[in-house]
Amino acid sequence: MRLTTSCAAAAVLAALAPTAQAEELNALIWCDHADPALLEPFEKAHGVKVNTKEYEGTAAGLTILEQSRPGDWDVMVIDAVDVHRAVERGLLAPLPAAEMATADYFPQVVMAANNSVDGVTYAVTEKFGYNTIAFNKAAVDPEDMKSLKTLFSGKYDGRIAVYDYYLPVEGIVGLSQGIATRDLDAAALERIKAPLFALKAASKQVSDVVASQTALATGEVDVLVGGGEWLTAVLHAENPDLDWTIPAEGGLLWAQSIAVLKDSKKPELALEFVKYITSPEGQARLATSSCYWGMPANRKAGAQLDADQKAVLRWDEQDDYLARAQLYPVPDAATDAAMQDLWTEMLQN
């Protein structure tokens, strides 16, 4: 009798298992890659299905990979500054550097030092932008936004939202204290603790992308620390007053890379996907993805974007911005844990 039961249970549960598809590519990604407008042209061209899974934060992404069986994943999107961490764990496959479109890139975002180890390329940059100050220019004095000091002046208390991601925001607070992102170590964390807590006290909420967008778009808050084009661009049509700037102290440059997993069972298809994403067409679609916008790493994508899109992305001002922005902090495991602890403490305070 138990046998019958287990058979019945097994049959029902087997029906729940995902049905087999043609060929599938499994991608561990950020939300901008889940846009059908980006994926469908590739799927049609190769007759495959791209499965996507979003993750937040490199540590969580690496945990997902470590807990999966070898071969579960084919490609992944990763913070450019964290490519080394994945390579050290032996997770990434080398890429044929000669076949990559990096010659067409904005030179500042090729980031060869980050994307390769010992001369071997493991990832290529695909998209970049800035974590800085976004604001509603109808509600604040744009002059005030030219310095991070404003955040601590009391003038905008209760009208500030903070983007809920510890790396860029702790980096920005570091900049406000004159600490370069590469110098953000345990000792520096002590120095940013007080200003970080002061920022929390001055703000109304610490929120994810959508809650931040909602707050900014509905006038709940007027300033968003950690925001940038990636957050305001999709709202541009709704509220053209939403703006962003890189203050005098600087801002943070975010750059995401794409890589093929070493254990992928479909390395050719995975490589094709990387080539598609870094091609001018793929780059233009990725730049204007429904989840968030960002500058394409490949300059040739400019030909695929219209003037309005370029204006929203500040295409012509990139040289100045790139010169003033700093890379994300690259903490070691202990510092990373300390940064997260500081963040949790800030939230809970």
Binding site: M1, T5, A8, A9, V12, L13, A15, L16, A17, P18, N26, C31, A34, P36, N51, T52, K53, E54, Q67, S68, R69, D72, D208, V209, V210, Q213, T214, A217, T218, V234, L235, A237, E238, S290, C291, Y292
Partner: protein, 256 residues
């Protein structure tokens, strides 16, 4: 007192219905922001969700998981209730306590435990693992509803059927189940409702194929738009329609 009662009733109904009304109204918002002022009506957001393949796949997945896991939970719960109701077994109390225990535990704890066990066993997250988790939360529910419904009358009928030579499965299928039909239907319906709307287990135990609440959660995290209102309203209106239909057909008959 009378006036006060009605005033209270109206006030509480307003509180209870407010978010639903707002949700539905702003699903027609002509613009990207689902907050006042209302800028005019459009069906654009409904068109978008109906053509969103991920969302529609999630809808199907939710249905599959809800029906599958509820069937298993109902079957297991029915058998266990029949077994425990018919004879006093040694440790009956302990068994009942064990079967009901998952009801007193937060879903998050069940989800985290299963996630780590499946990880250790090398089982990847999928709709199947989510379904297993949903059986865990629904089994106590089905069991307790059916166990409570099995009175003396029931036991006597089962005993009589057996005395007349009916086999064990015949007793369960032909005597017990029809007598318990209302309770079985209620348990199944409740299980489907719980599974359909469950978030945290599905969130931690799925990967590519996700259920509707998980898909809505990622929609919420990837861009503000009345699409979220539209899918919320659609699910709401369809569920209410189903409930009302059941209310007027199945349960009305069952209640007599």
């Amino acid at each position: 007192m009378r006036v006060l009662s009605w005033a209270y009733l109206v006030a509480l109904f307003a509180f209870i219905l407010l978010p639903v009304v707002v949700l539905v109204v702003f699903s027609f918002q002509d613009g990207r922001l689902p907050v006042p002022p209302f800028r005019g009506a459009t069906l654009k957001w409904y068109a978008e969700i109906l053509s969103d393949r991920d969302l529609m796949a999630a809808l199907g997945n939710s249905l599959l998981v809800a029906l599958g896991s509820s069937t298993v939970a109902l079957l297991l719960g029915f058998m266990a209730a029949s077994g425990l109701a018919r004879v006093a077994l040694p440790g009956t109390l302990a068994m009942r306590a064990l079967l009901i225990a998952p009801m007193t535990v937060s879903y998050l704890i069940i989800a985290l435990g299963l996630l780590q066990m499946f990880n250790a066993a090398g089982v990847g997250p999928s709709l199947l693992t989510t379904g297993i988790g949903h059986v865990v939360i629904n089994l106590p529910l089905c069991f307790s509803i059916l166990y409570a419904a099995m009175g003396e009358h029931q036991k006597n009928a089962m005993r009589a059927a057996r005395d007349l030579g009916a086999g064990e499965w015949q007793v369960l299928a032909l005597v017990s189940a029809p007598m318990l039909a209302p309770a079985l239907a209620a348990a199944f319906f409740l299980s489907v409702t719980f599974s359909w709307d469950e978030f945290i287990i599905a969130f931690l135990l799925t990967r590519f194929d996700v259920t509707l609440p998980v898909e809505i959660w990622s929609m919420l995290r990837s861009g503000l738009s009345p699409k979220t209102n539209a899918i919320g309203s659609l699910v709401f209106l369809v569920s209410v329609a189903i409930t009302v239909t059941l209310e007027f057909t199945l349960f009305r008959k069952a209640r007599k």
